[in-house]
């Protein structure tokens, strides 16, 4: 029951985040969604992921948003959407209702003994995933460094020379007398 309440709050925060008129507010509503999702994850029993979600989603991403918005500056928002609402809303509703109709109802599920603990899973059985994540973070760092670097002088463009004519020999075939 508590889960249902938490979900309702999370959806309210999400809707507010999407329809906010100022960017800062959108970022803060997003932080709220992250926090509530973290609590939900904890209540399922995934303690480690809940902590990660809270610190990364509610903490790191929110701080990044605040910084980025401060650098970029606020922009005028709340203009008419490009895709009209009478298309967007029904399309979304149809998609998710179809999706839900196919999945629900979900039964009770199995209660199984937890196999091993989280750290063995993370570092041994899914160790390759973790290594790839390291690579991914590294790639992200390099990408951001490249994106935020000051603009360089553009490469000098060589003007292309005209090609020398290829057929200068007397033995060549000129195009003559074509038939339609």
């Amino acid at each position: 029951m508590l889960n249902l309440i938490l979900i309702v709050f999370a959806l309210v925060c999400a809707i507010q985040a999407v329809t906010a008129t100022r960017l800062m507010r959108a970022a803060l509503w997003l932080a709220g969604v992250s926090a509530l999702t973290a609590i939900l994850l904890f209540r399922i029993g995934a303690h480690e992921v809940a902590v990660i979600e809270l610190s990364v989603g509610a903490g790191l991403v929110t701080v990044l948003f605040v910084f980025a918005i401060a650098i970029a500056g606020e922009d005028a928002m709340g203009e008419r959407p490009i895709v009209p609402r009478w298309i967007a809303l029904p399309a979304t509703l149809i998609a998710v209702i179809l999706f839900g109709w196919m999945i629900l109802p979900v039964g009770a599920g199995e209660t199984a003994a937890a196999a091993g603990d989280f750290s063995t899973m993370l570092w041994h059985e899914r160790g390759l995933d973790t290594l790839v994540q390291v690579g991914l973070i590294f790639a992200g760092v390099v990408g951001v460094l490249g994106l935020l670097a000051p603009a360089r002088a553009p490469f000098p463009v060589r003007r292309a020379e005209p090609l020398p004519p290829l057929r200068a020999e007397p033995g060549a075939e000129p195009v003559a007398g074509q038939e339609g």
Binding site: N3, A14, A20, A68, V106, A112, A114, Q133, V144
Partner: protein, 104 residues
Amino acid sequence: MITWTPATVMVLGVIGLLAVGLYGLLTVRNLFQIIVALQILVKGAVLALVAAADYVGQLHLGQSLAVTVIVADTVVAVIGMAMAVQVKQHNRTLDVKALGSLRR
């Protein structure tokens, strides 16, 4: 009526978050708001992963997959924000409509 098992509640939550995220992607015009909508979508996905893992009984496997997804999505958000900053500097606006130059 549906039996309100814990898994059903979670699935309803996932569906709701996905719906809000998709609606956001369809209607917002500001680049930062698009990143916000993407984040909401991914939170729905993470919730779905963990809920499914709990349903099947392999919670730890689901958790490590969820960690991977969170890391990937965070990197995407960071790079998206860096790009948004650059777009603001070049185009003077964060409006998505100004980014249609690939078509021309």
